[in-house]
Amino acid sequence: MSEKKFLSGDEAFAEGVRLARPQVISAYPITPQTVVVERLSEMVERGDLDADYLHVESEHSALSAAIGAAAAGARAFTATSSQGLLYMAECLTYAAGGRFPIVMMNANRSTCLPWNIYGDQRDSLSLLDHGWIQVYAENAQEALDLALMAYRLGEDARVRTPVMVCLDGFALTHTYETVDVPSPAEADAFLPPYETSNRFDFEHPVSIGYTAGPAYNRYYKQREHLDMLAAAQVVDEVEGEFARTIGRAYPGVVDAWHCEDAEEIVVTLGSIAGEVRDVASRLRAAGRKVGVLRIRYLRPLPGPEIVAAVSGARAVAVLEKDVSFGAEGTVFTNVNSALHRAGCPVPTRNFIGGLGGDDITEGQVMQIFDALHQVAGSDAARVPDVTFLNIADQGGER
């Protein structure tokens, strides 16, 4: 039987990892990820988890060791945040191109300079193109459940791709809630042991991690791309199996809230979605037709699902905790691309907030919905394409 525990996001994720039974954990501590690897090291020390725990000397080594473990056929886990993730960046493509389905937790945190330990999403969003599935949790329960589902998804024979599970730093990693922790038997029923032929094998020697030059390289890259796209369908299957064995249902690559009849929709991701829905539910009670679309999986890009959710709206905002300097928010770019490809003409605006851990207040969310109301009406020109929240001066004309 499952049991209720009062856990932080980091602690909940550690419980999920324990239930996934990784054989190798390699990690280097970094705020706000530290708690998850502390809890896991304690579990290994107590014997609650039968894993080799490697306290390596850097994040680059953490992922390198996980890749080595995966190449030996082991289920591997690592976790990091911010500069640590950036330091791993070289290894991200090794894991993805080698098709090693490692699971990593990333505690979303600002990137320096200026130095800052608090949450925003610039770290993981800057690495969208490195071949990892990226999923963003909203709360600690989802975080725990994603730890289990990420292995089932990444290890699926049709996917064979590493998975990065992102938790908003502090807002999710360090806040506590009641979490339902499945029993080991329930978790085992959901997640079978990892078996693969993509590994060292002394009986049947293989060359692993080799060169592929101009004559062959494209085939590997196309395969990575197509298998990542195929993961979107596998997410639905994995969640169906999770609901059957564990008893909790999830809505697929996106989580649409009252989007069917909404005229104004805020698209966002991560833990802020709860607050946006709170504001939206008050607006709906007051008669405003508003909706919220939470992107859960950003890779594979849920293009068709985004289009299906917002194509009936009159204005769409993308609220995100990052900016691609000199362009716009990265999620905004991705959403716009999906809409453009589908020929969906709904006007969109970008709202960038929460940088370096800044609070995104209910008042700011209300401002976003009010701005969407202007965009949907006759005042669209008064709402700039990109707005930085909580700053009076929005800068130049471009």
């Binding site: 060359s207 692993i208 991690g209 060169t211 030059g213 004559a215 062959y216 590997y220």
Partner: protein
Amino acid sequence: MSDYSEGKGLRIPRLRTDALEPGDYADSTCFPAGWLAETNAGWRLKRPVIDAETCAGCLQCYLYCPDGAIRKTHTDDVAVFVDVDFCKGCGICKTVCAFGSISMVDEGEAKKTDAARAAARGEGERA
């Protein structure tokens, strides 16, 4: 002088591009040993040639080669041969050879010799 660059049956099996489809190999970088995706020899300006008469079989060249392109022959007449499909022509083998048994010859000239030899056997030029 024995020329083991031709392999004499010792050559490692290579991928035949007409024998495999991308779907057979492109889903990971893990494939049975001996089936490599391609050769890597185009950088070479000089080719090492081992003199079997003076080679002592000490295996220093085999150990030092940074590309693993020097292989054991497992025969009595000479200990090693150069896998010319992977030799980059760096000359480290010549430098470490204590017996002066390795000479670096001009690659263009060596290719002409290869072609003449292949023509004499009635084969096309090896890829």
